[in-house]
């Protein structure tokens, strides 16, 4: 992800902090603006939009907390990260509960800061994407929208039918963009619960305490900013399906609570003591290896066994290339209709490129590629020059099976050791240089 078009507003009264953050983010390729106080920040926010704001909690005049409330009025979707000088849990919790994405304590660890910023920005993008997806889905009349006739997809369809008839918990795993959310919705729509809502919670995009209030709801006055009692997603999903996306990123603490709820289907709202019962079916999705997370101790074993009753694996698109033409044409039709543009087909040369390309971003990347091609292309057909990927980046499909196995093994080990090169090299019994070379040759990327 290149941060190219991402803009950040830094609000801090201390010049050294503004300057350092300005320098750091600029080097990182972000567009940065700064403000010394709330007044200046609000002025700038009214003039243009930003993708992220970092606010010092302690500002002269209106403090960061109050500023955040005001920002909500100007731009309700802007993710805000609070900067605190001391790790005062009390203020940090207050910040989170009033809607901040997260908080950081000065000085920051460079790695944490860059991860935090990336996540916050991704949250905003996800919010947008989900809106798009929902619009798309509501457009479609009932019926199966899962495209693909490959053996793998046929099996997935069968599994969906089988599991839809039961009330069993399901884990869907697969790389990003392989269609996990779509499968979750398909299960819901084929189940008896289809007349009740399917409620999704993106566990990866929310800070721990927000996730709790999101799941369990809160009582009026449970914390500053809780002006009304709010139902949590568990409660809203009553009768329907709860879709827990990116389940692997739930904190250990929330895992404990979630496990208890899954076992009893009973819980209390944050700040409340009334016991609430809700009847929902759980579907989880993850692009991480949950077994590895259990082995590493970042995912509770008991929770793993509780949810992993039935599992559906969505293979990456490059392992079911026969689906590419079907998917590409499906997206072509959808976008031709939406854009009212008479592009009717994909030229054989362009299709050839599509089929041979590796698709690291899977179906989502394919969909985006077609959408883009529809914008830049001229009727009646999509041609190679309309596609964002070049020929060199595609590989022939008859690649060496052995290399594929090795690549997956190395990726797995790297993942397991959190990309610690020394440890991974040790586990693979090769030296670091060899490992680097292999990482490079296989184009593996740190997540």
């Amino acid at each position: 992800m290149a941060p190219n078009d991402v803009s950040i507003l830094v609000v801090d009264d201390e010049r050294a902090v503004r300057d350092s953050l300005y320098g750091w983010f600029t080097e990182d390729g972000y567009e940065v603006d700064t403000a010394v106080d709330a007044q200046e920040a609000l002025t700038k926010l009214r003039q243009r939009s930003f993708d992220l704001a970092l606010l010092d909690i302690k500002l002269p005049g209106m403090d960061g907390m109050e500023l955040q409330q005001r920002i909500r009025e100007v731009d309700p979707e802007l993710p805000v990260i609070m900067i605190t000088a001391y790790a005062s849990i009390e203020t940090a919790v207050k910040a989170l509960k009033s809607g901040a994405f997260d908080y950081v304590t000065k000085p920051f660890d460079p790695d944490n800061l860059s991860r935090l910023v990336r996540n916050a920005i991704r949250q905003k993008q996800l919010a947008r994407e989900n809106v798009r997806l929902r619009e798309k889905i509501s457009d479609l009349t009932a019926g199966d929208q899962l495209i693909g006739e490959s053996e793998a997809m046929q099996k997935v369809r069968e599994l969906i039918k089988t599991v839809a008839a039961t009330d069993s918990t399901v884990v869907i795993h697969g790389e990003s963009g392989t269609g996990k959310e779509l499968v979750a919705r398909a299960i819901h729509h084929h189940s008896d619960r289809r007349f009740f809502p399917i409620v999704d919670v993106n566990c990866g995009a929310l800070a721990e305490s927000i996730l709790e209030s999101e799941l369990f709801g809160h009582e009026k006055g449970a914390f500053t900013g809780a002006h009304q009692t709010r139902k949590g997603k568990l409660e809203i999903a009553d009768g329907g399906t709860l879709f827990l996306d990116e389940i692997a990123s739930i904190s250990m603490k929330t895992q404990v609570e979630l496990l208890r709820v899954l076992e009893t289907k009973q819980f209390t709202r944050v700040g409340g003591n009334k016991i609430i019962t809700s009847d929902f079916r759980v579907i989880c999705a993850t692009n991480k290896n949950l077994e590895a997370a259990v082995a590493e101790g970042t995912f509770r074993e008991d929770l793993y066994y509780r949810i992993n009753v039935f599992s559906i694996y969505l293979p990456p698109l490059r392992e079911r290339r026969s689906d590419i033409p079907l998917l590409a044409n499906h997206f072509l039709k959808t976008y031709a209709l939406a854009m009212n543009k008479p592009i009717r087909e994909i030229s054989p040369e362009a299709l050839d490129i599509l089929v041979r390309y590796e698709w690291p971003g899977n179906v989502r990347e394919l969909e985006n590629a077609i959408e883009r091609a529809m914008v830049v292309g001229t009727p009646p057909a999509i041609r190679p020059e309309d596609l964002p990927m070049s020929l060199e980046r595609s590989v022939s499909s008859d690649h060496d099976a052995l290399a594929e196995v090795e690549k997956r093994h190395i990726a797995h080990v790297l993942d397991k050791y959190g990309w610690n090169i020394s440890h991974a090299a040790h586990a693979l019994k090769i030296d670091r240089v060899t490992l680097y070379n292999k990482i490079k040759r296989y184009g593996l990327q740190r997540p």
């Binding site: 992800m1 290149a2 201390e14 050294a16 902090v17 300057d19 350092s20 953050l21 320098g23 750091w24 600029t26 080097e27 990182d28 390729g29 000065k106 000085p107 920051f108 660890d109 460079p110 790695d111 800061l113 860059s114 990309w419 610690n420 090169i421 670091r432 680097y436 990482i439 490079k440 184009g443 593996l444 990327q445 740190r446």
Partner: protein, 190 residues
């Protein structure tokens, strides 16, 4: 070939490493360098509470000391560096400017409790030096895997990237340096 880079050593005792680095820069990037001792005030760069040195304050001093230099100015040190908002930095440079700094403190295996390894140290140092030079020539962080302009937020990431630029960054780097060579080569243009 006239020099394009002046390297200032500040609390830096690894002379063989410096020689190797300079030879390598000349060979690989046709970048010839001078060596000087950092003999300026430290500008209150030391923060006793953190036991670290403020990176910006140090390179600001060489900038002041060489107001008219055509060279890029790079400080090499063994001091542990920080900038006010971060717990540490491996280095820092003025984006598209003249001065920067690189510390080997956290590039040393011994910092992580491992036995010293001069080879690994050299690998890491040249990446960080090329990275900061990239910033000096106007490059920002790049997210192509293995590109030396990838952000260095921890030593594992330093290890995972190469000392090379990706094609796009190389293009920008080369273009920026040609301009400079041009200006140095034709003083009348100035």
């Amino acid at each position: 070939m006239s020099a394009q880079l002046e390297i200032f050593t500040l609390n830096f005792s690894q002379h063989e490493l410096l020689i190797a680095l300079r030879e390598w820069l000349a060979l690989e990037f046709n970048l010839h360098s001078l060596e000087s001792l950092f003999s300026f005030s430290l500008n209150n760069a030391y923060d006793p509470a953190r036991h670290q040195y403020n990176a910006t304050r140090i390179w600001e001093q060489v900038l002041k000391a060489r107001p008219d230099s055509h060279h890029k100015l790079l400080v090499l040190t063994e001091y542990d560096l920080f900038i006010p908002v971060l717990t540490f930095v491996f280095g820092e440079a003025q984006l598209g400017g003249r001065a920067g700094i690189v510390s080997i403190c956290r590039l040393l295996e011994s910092f992580y409790g491992l036995p010293p390894n001069p080879d690994i140290l050299f690998q890491r140092l040249r990446k960080e030096v090329v990275h900061e030079l990239g910033h000096l020539y106007g490059l920002r962080h790049c997210y192509m895997p293995f590109c030396v302009m990838g952000p260095s937020t921890n030593v594992e990431r330093v290890d995972a990237k190469e000392w090379k630029f990706c094609p796009e960054c190389l293009e920008t780097f080369a273009r920026a340096r040609n301009d400079l060579a041009l200006r140095l080569g034709f003083p009348s243009v100035k």
